[in-house]
Subunit: 202 residues, 2 copies
């Protein structure tokens, strides 16, 4: 039996438009490596999940007081974790192209760096992360063939793959991002990352 | 200047029907005393706040996946904090009478013990906490004149006081329970209790 099969596993279900996914995507890799946990990166779209609840946008937009609280909380959380923060001028920001790239590369060695960069561009640099130029520049910076990857990302079979990921998320009972899945348990929210890691190795 | 005026203060806005208020109401007193923080107990009703968002019950009932997650999360959280847990057969449980008693006694020395007991009766013993018998028994157990307190709790001016508390909560930007308020900052959820305590003494 391959020893990798016995290593603890943890899935992170995330979305580049999801603000609380931002600190988790940045924190997870190092925390998991320190504990010998294999991370599975699972991109999915929140939009269809919100739609299935009858919402046409984020609950942070629909519920004004909750939204106001969240923006202040994000400032405090990013200060706590020592990660840069700038409130995006567009929220929730459309991120379909980079999400398609993420689903294409979910098992590739570059998925972590790509995801961290995309999240930072949205929540620390206020960039339009759904543009071909931005995504291409990030892939090139990572030493990848950006033109080829963007083409593959937009192919029908890969578009379908992101839809299937989103359906899988719903089947798992996921209703928001980030969500961690390990050993049959769901942990919702950046606040639960440490508990999820602990559960993975329990 | 009285030294009490210079002691750090922290408000807990809570509701006996609110599941995440349960661990916070149990944890807060000892944590605050250890840090020399004065706790202000602020009962309010979640129902009118949910109604103002167009909801006729708890979001944990309205959103099935979120509700399912929450029940499992409560089990895990109560295990983590070492507090008893039994899923109530009625949720959200009406708690108008004990909430009126709480608002009547919010500055009394018995508010902490009364609140802890009420929360445990709901979330560990699955009792109908809105009944006169249950509330009277708890007050008597605390060495109080239950008949007189229940009468005062149901007087028009005290009913009004609970409504005013709920309006104050909304003015503060509170949208869920528990919420901690200290030095002009809001902290929402049992997960944020430690950060709120830290902020209070910062």
């Amino acid at each position: 039996m391959n020893s990798a099969l016995r290593r603890p596993k943890l899935e992170i279900w995330f979305e580049f438009g999801s603000n609380y996914s931002y600190p988790s995507v940045h924190r997870l890799g190092d925390l998991a490596r320190a504990r010998g946990i294999d991370v599975h990166w699972e991109p999915f779209l929140l939009g269809p999940i919100f739609k299935s609840l009858g919402w046409d946008t984020s609950p942070f937009v629909l519920q004004e007081a909750k939204g106001r609280y969240m923006w202040r909380d994000m400032e405090r959380q990013c200060e706590k974790y020592g990660i840069p923060w700038r409130r995006p001028t567009t929220f929730p920001r459309r991120a379909l192209l980079p999400m398609r790239v993420a689903v294409l590369g979910k098992d590739a060695p570059w998925i972590e760096d790509f995801s961290k960069t995309m999240m930072s561009l949205n929540f620390a640099e206020d960039k339009d992360i759904d543009s071909v130029e931005v995504v291409a520049a990030v892939l090139t910076e990572l030493g990848l063939d950006s033109a080829s990857l963007i083409e593959q990302a937009q192919a029908p079979e890969n578009k379908e793959k992101l839809k299937v990921q989103t359906s899988r998320a719903q089947e798992l009972g996921i209703f928001g991002g980030p969500t961690f899945v390990t050993r049959g348990e769901l942990f919702w929210g950046n606040d639960r990352l440490e508990e999820a890691l602990e559960w993975a190795t329990r």
